[in-house]
């Protein structure tokens, strides 16, 4: 009983702030101190706010494109790394791990310095959407590599050679034999990259410029000016989207597991 109460209290601690945000997103009074009646005005204002809508589309565009680019680069890189000799491989992996281990703030400022350095060399342009997208690709690539490499290790190298012996050109052998085998790792890496991109604030904060914001940056600048009911409405919507996505992913996983179990039992027969 005591155990249940303890876990209940901990979960209350985790969820109370989110629930408070949700409740106040329906509060007609702008003050947090009192309840001024139920309203959906903040949601209406949220969708009419051009700044928020622009930030939302930036966030999604950057998440989709950076996840796709990082998946392609990361998958090819993982294959390349696996083909290297052991000494070179460990050197390349150590460098790959650097952004994962480094504090985000250091990655952020180091990329900011790099971009400004290049911009000065090129003599034009500035920080903005392009550098923001590039920085997301850069910090996502290691996570894709780390998801794909375990799958590559379990891959039977003979399969690829067998496909080639049977007359498949290298590209076809890769697409038909190697890629399907490592696909689960590639998909995990891509989803991870998408999530990290949507959630990132620190690196984006340093590598964007000229008024280009994603949601995190916008929330930061709004929150610094104090509590704002529109952010409450936005939080509620984001939380609901997250819940639905987690539910869908979970359902997919359990279904896959069931399929696997079914397949195994057939094999056993």
């Amino acid at each position: 009983m005591l155990k249940k109460i303890y876990l209940g209290l901990m979960l209350f601690f985790m969820y109370a702030p989110i629930i408070v945000l949700m409740i106040f997103s329906f509060n007609a009074s702008k003050s947090r101190a009192r309840w001024g009646g139920f309203t959906l005005d903040w949601y209406a204002e949220l969708f009419q706010d051009p700044g928020i809508m622009k930030a939302l589309s930036n966030t999604l565009l950057i998440a989709v494109f950076s996840a796709l680019a990082a998946t392609v680069i990361g998958t090819l890189a993982a294959i390349g790394i696996e083909l290297l000799g052991s000494r070179l491989k460990s050197a390349v992996m150590s460098v790959t791990n650097l952004p994962v281990m480094n504090p985000d703030i250091v990655t952020g400022v180091s990329l900011m310095i790099l971009f400004i350095f290049f911009i000065r060399l090129a003599g034009g342009g500035g920080l903005g959407f392009g550098t923001l997208l590039l920085s997301h690709i850069i910090f996502n690539v290691p996570y894709v590599i780390l998801s794909v490499i375990p799958k590559l290790r379990r891959l039977d190298g003979n399969l690829y050679e067998a496909a080639q012996d049977l007359g498949a050109p290298p590209m076809k052998a890769f697409l038909k034999v190697v890629l399907p085998e490592i696909m689960p790792g590639v998909v995990t890496g891509m989803m991870l990259a998408f999530t990290l991109s949507v959630d990132d604030f620190v690196i984006s904060f340093f590598t964007t410029g000229s008024g280009v914001s994603n949601l995190s940056i916008l929330i930061f600048s709004m929150a610094r000016r104090g509590v704002n009911p529109k952010i409450n409405a936005l939080s509620t919507l984001i939380f609901l989207v997250v819940l639905v996505l987690l539910y869908l992913i979970n359902r997919r996983d359990t279904r896959n597991q069931k399929k696997q179990n079914a397949g195994e039992s057939i094999l056993e027969i």
Binding site: L76, V95, P103, F201, I219
Partner: protein, 282 residues
């Protein structure tokens, strides 16, 4: 031929990982003279440890005290996360809860919400006329005014990083071989002894990764201190942000970044040592 396949990626990491870090190092070690020519110097580092008044004690110097405060607040938050998180992980890993993965899932769901929104949520609660004070006033308890103080920053860190503590401890407790516990019980150890001699020592790897995963983001954060600690509130992360985005002193900012990396490396070294130390069984 096979080796060539990795070369584009080697070029990629050289440009986007190695060169940026070298640039940070370069800026931290240089200054420009009157003609605009760069020269090698350790002044940026010296400035970090410099006394603002003659004879100022080392630990009270302005930037040193910022660093110490960052370490201190991260340590307190880590300790609180451990004290709160270990029992939670222990209860979930133990008998009596059939749907363990669902419980764990409940603890992880808030992590999927944007980090800034989770921190921002505490503004609404902790404000002078916020939810907490209304509740306290309703119960007749005096108001708490902790927003924009150390306590609020620690609370923000604990709230944001608690699942990072629970998850690895839970995982290592789940991996504990039940027959070891039963063997200890058969040999006559009571509940406390089983825990202190068998269960806890076996969960140390989980504790170490939990401590690492809470301490590292805690010591480098600038968002939590910026939102809950108020405007002029400063941790080492805020210092770096200010140097790059407000003051525009890249050289000093780079030096602080290098100091932060060294701080992280030292703490990782310490944590790794604790992990490797053999469990003493007297």
């Amino acid at each position: 031929m096979k080796k060539l396949f990795a070369y584009p990626y080697v070029v990629w990491i050289s440009i986007f990982i190695v060169v940026p870090l070298l640039l940070v190092l370069y800026y931290s070690l240089t200054a420009v003279d009157a003609d605009g020519a760069a020269y090698f110097t350790l002044d940026n580092y010296r400035r970090f440890f410099e006394a603002s008044t003659p004879g100022q004690p080392f630990l009270e110097r302005i930037y040193v005290s910022v660093m110490l405060r960052s370490i201190w607040l991260a340590l307190i938050s880590t300790a609180i996360c451990f004290v709160l998180g270990y029992p939670a992980a222990y209860i979930m890993a133990g008998k009596g809860f059939s749907d363990k993965s669902f419980l764990l899932f409940l603890f992880l769901v808030p992590m999927w919400m944007n980090f800034l929104l989770r921190t921002y949520a505490w503004l609404t609660i902790l404000e002078q006329n916020g939810v907490l004070n209304n509740l306290l006033g309703f119960l007749g308890i005096p108001k708490l005014d902790i927003l924009y103080t150390d306590a609020a920053v620690v609370l923000g860190m604990v709230y944001n990083f608690l699942p990072f503590m629970i998850l690895p401890i839970y995982t290592s407790l789940r991996k504990t071989d039940r027959s070891l516990i039963e063997a200890a019980q058969d040999l006559g150890a009571d509940g406390i002894k089983v825990f202190s001699r068998v269960v806890f020592p076996l969960s140390i790897p989980g504790v170490v990764s939990g401590v690492t995963m809470v301490f590292m983001p805690g010591v480098t954060t600038f968002i939590i201190s910026n939102l809950l600690g108020g405007g002029q509130y400063i941790l080492i992360g805020n210092l770096i942000e200010q140097q790059f985005l407000k003051v525009g002193d890249w050289r000093f900012g780079s030096a602080i970044s290098v100091i932060l990396i060294i701080l992280i490396l030292i703490s990782m070294g310490i944590f790794a040592r604790v992990d490797k130390e053999p469990v003493t069984t007297a």
